[in-house]
């Protein structure tokens, strides 16, 4: 009997790891569809961002109450995973709480800590559900999240609560069984939370307790493996990608736009023809971004790292005044399009127009509020500006007023139609 459960466990674990790896490689391939860009300079600054922004969740603390709750969920989730290690070893080896005899009294302390974290995770997730569904914070009821994204967020929170409750149930039954000296159940010190609840199960038979303990144990670990595979299809992927995203975050001042060396060269040759190469280059360069392949791989990593929290859009002047633009949607649409291209369904569509409209792109004031707010170092503005470059330079698509502004700058050296000779007229007035 024991061997059967070990085999089932082995198959479940192997299958989960296989599926997750396949999906992870698929996402990696999708991200690398983006154009190359070197983001390995200044490693010290990058590690600092990783520590402060990802591990320390610095930006979350712009709202301390939410930051603390989120930190419980994050720390709880990460640290309780140490317990998963024991569960996996037990599952494969057919043992029970294999670390207990090894760690002695320390074991009870560790599990006690895990239990407190588990309770905090469950409570925090419940509060988050209330914020989303009962208090209805503006950024959560936004139309951006209509359909799957809104359900996704709720599924994640509910799953986390269920997993934590299963973990605590399993421990409670375990403590009750230990108290009865049941065979196979190693005696540990009292667990800090479930130790207090074990007496409530006193009326149950040994076999019922074992059924509860085993049932919770299996549901918990199978739930964890299922959740592992839900993760890469969901906004919850941010728990992994927030880390590389912080490391590869833009280190330039926010006001600095990406330079286009090919155009810089072009202008230099126009101004100083003697510098121009005698043989014209074979390749016709593409300017700006029309589809995800024109964006950088960091833009696509951004899209996969986005957890759709909407802090960007809540701060965006365009979104706040009812424009079509929402930076969160820019990221969600980029991810959707990357998925579509990754599935081999690229044909006949592009990120521009089929996903992101000109109206959205035009509404941006480049104010950097979205970049400032993002807790996981996403830069929606970079995508918007690359797409604007495509519109203007590849399609000559600009509002008439912008075309006038361009021609004024070109001819009068100012965006308005004034004579350059009057530039110093302010002195005389």
């Amino acid at each position: 009997m024991q061997i059967v459960s070990q085999v089932i466990f082995f198959i479940a674990l192997g299958f989960a790891i296989y599926l997750f790896s396949r999906r992870a490689l698929g996402i990696r391939r999708n991200i690398l569809l983006g154009r190359d860009v070197a983001l390995n300079d200044q490693p010290a600054a990058r590690w600092k961002n990783l520590l402060l922004l990802a591990f320390g969740q610095k930006k979350m603390f712009r709202n301390p109450m939410v930051a603390v709750l989120h930190f419980f969920v994050y720390a709880g989730f990460v640290i309780i995973n140490i317990e998963i290690l024991e569960i996996v070893i037990d599952g494969l080896a057919g043992t029970h709480r294999i670390f207990a005899p090894v760690l002695g009294s320390l074991y009870g302390v560790l599990i006690g800590c895990f239990e407190i974290l588990a309770a905090l995770v469950a409570i925090s997730c419940a509060i988050f559900l209330v914020r989303r569904n009962i208090i209805k914070l503006k950024r959560f009821i936004s139309k951006d999240l209509n359909g799957w994204p809104r359900s996704d967020a709720n599924y994640i929170l509910i799953t986390e609560i269920v997993l934590m409750v299963l973990f605590l149930t399993m421990n409670t039954a375990d403590q009750a069984l230990q108290a009865r000296g049941a065979e196979h159940y190693v005696l540990t010190s009292d667990f800090w939370i479930t130790g207090n609840f074990a007496p409530l199960l006193a009326g149950l038979s040994d076999s019922a307790l074992v059924a509860i303990e085993r049932g919770a144990w299996w549901l918990h670990i199978l739930g964890v493996l299922a959740f592992l595979n839900y993760l890469p299809f969901s906004k919850h992927l941010h728990i992994i990608l927030a880390f590389p995203n912080a490391y590869f975050a833009d280190l330039r001042p926010k006001g600095k736009m990406e330079n286009m060396p090919e155009i810089q060269q072009e202008v230099l040759y126009a101004m100083q023809p003697e510098l121009a190469p005698t043989t014209p280059s074979e390749t016709v360069p593409k300017f700006g971004a029309k589809d995800i392949q024109d964006l950088t791989w960091k833009n696509l990593l951004d899209a996969y790292a986005c957890t759709e929290c909407g802090r960007c859009s809540a701060a965006c002047p365009a979104t706040q005044t009812g424009k079509a633009l929402s930076p969160r949607l820019i990221m969600m649409k980029t991810r959707d399009r990357a998925e579509e291209v990754g599935r081999g369904q690229a044909e006949g569509k592009t990120l521009l127009r089929d996903y992101i409209t000109e109206e959205e792109l035009r509404a941006c004031t480049t104010c950097n509020a979205c970049v400032q707010e993002c807790p996981v170092s996403i830069n929606p503005l970079h995508i918007i500006l690359q797409m604007r470059r495509h519109l203007v330079m590849e399609e000559s698509s600009a509002p008439q007023e912008w075309n006038m502004m361009f021609s004024n700058i070109e001819n009068n050296m100012a965006p308005w139609k004034f004579s350059p000779d009057d530039r110093d007229a302010w002195i005389q007035q």
């Binding site: 006001g255 736009m257 005044t321 104010c367 330079m393 600009a398 100012a414 530039r423 110093d424 302010w426």
Partner: protein, 259 residues
């Protein structure tokens, strides 16, 4: 006002302390010209040797670049850098945060490296260095002032404190809007929006910001950018408060109250 150009300094074999980059708005926009004159007056009064480029000045290319026209931006940058480097310009002061940002962050990669100072920071330095001395009991004493962070000085370049320190010398009561500093709401002009009609929405961005500024109860909205100036002035007008609430550049506020 007697203001010398870079060419005049150069002809006399002299070098000014700073180049005052006026910018297009500061040169041509009637309201912004007042800011330019105020700042030039401060420089003159404090005895700073400064020059302007005059007719040799041209748009930095910021609105073109942000609208997506990189070719035009690169053309403007090339020409401006030629002019600035020919005069061996070391230090640029400007009252426009967009020009400031372009010089500071974008020209160095294209061969134009200068010390670039926005006038908010420059005024703070002049005050700290004792070159600007304020009158006792100036015109803003005890009045409520709110300060609007421009995006290109604030978030883009992290300058939040210098303009506030300048305003503190006015003995006024500085009240903050809810959305201030790194959470500041844009006036709606950046990213070349100044030069086109806004997309359709529930309201205009400058109306939203105008209302927010007016609701602080301040009698003066202090700004540091000629585009914010235009936007906020319209926003205040829309809120029906143009009689009670003035939008002023920090340079205008200082020049009124310096000795």
């Amino acid at each position: 006002m007697q203001i010398k150009t870079m060419a005049e300094y150069f002809a006399n074999g002299e070098t000014p302390e700073v180049l005052f980059w006026v910018g297009c708005a500061g040169s041509f926009d009637q309201r912004a010209q007042k800011i330019t004159r105020a700042f030039a007056e401060i420089l003159t009064k404090t005895g700073i040797q400064f020059a302007i480029l005059g007719k040799e000045e041209a748009c930095t290319g910021d609105p073109a670049r942000r609208a997506g026209n990189e070719f035009l931006f690169q053309m403007m940058a090339y020409n401006n850098i030629q002019v600035l480097n020919n005069y061996a310009v070391k230090t640029i002061v400007t009252a426009c945060p967009h020009c400031f940002n372009t010089f500071k962050n974008e020209y160095p990669q294209l061969g134009g490296t200068y010390e670039v100072i926005h006038h908010a920071t420059y005024l703070q330095q002049l005050i700290d260095g004792g070159r600007i001395k304020m009158k006792e009991g100036g015109t803003f004493k005890g009045k409520k002032i709110t300060y609007h962070d421009s995006c290109y000085l604030g978030r883009a370049n992290g300058i939040y404190e210098a303009p506030r320190q300048v305003l503190e010398t006015l003995d006024a009561e500085l009240v903050e809007m809810k959305r201030c500093k790194s959470k500041g709401l844009c006036c709606g002009a950046g990213g070349a929006q100044m030069f086109k009609e806004e997309e359709k929405g529930s309201t205009r961005i400058n109306f939203e910001r105008g209302h927010e500024a007016v609701s602080t109860g301040a009698s003066v909205i202090a700004s540091n950018c000629p585009f914010c100036m235009t936007m906020l002035t319209d926003g205040v007008k829309e809120a029906g408060k143009e009689e009670e609430v003035k939008v002023m550049d920090i340079a205008e506020m200082i020049v009124q109250n310096m000795q």
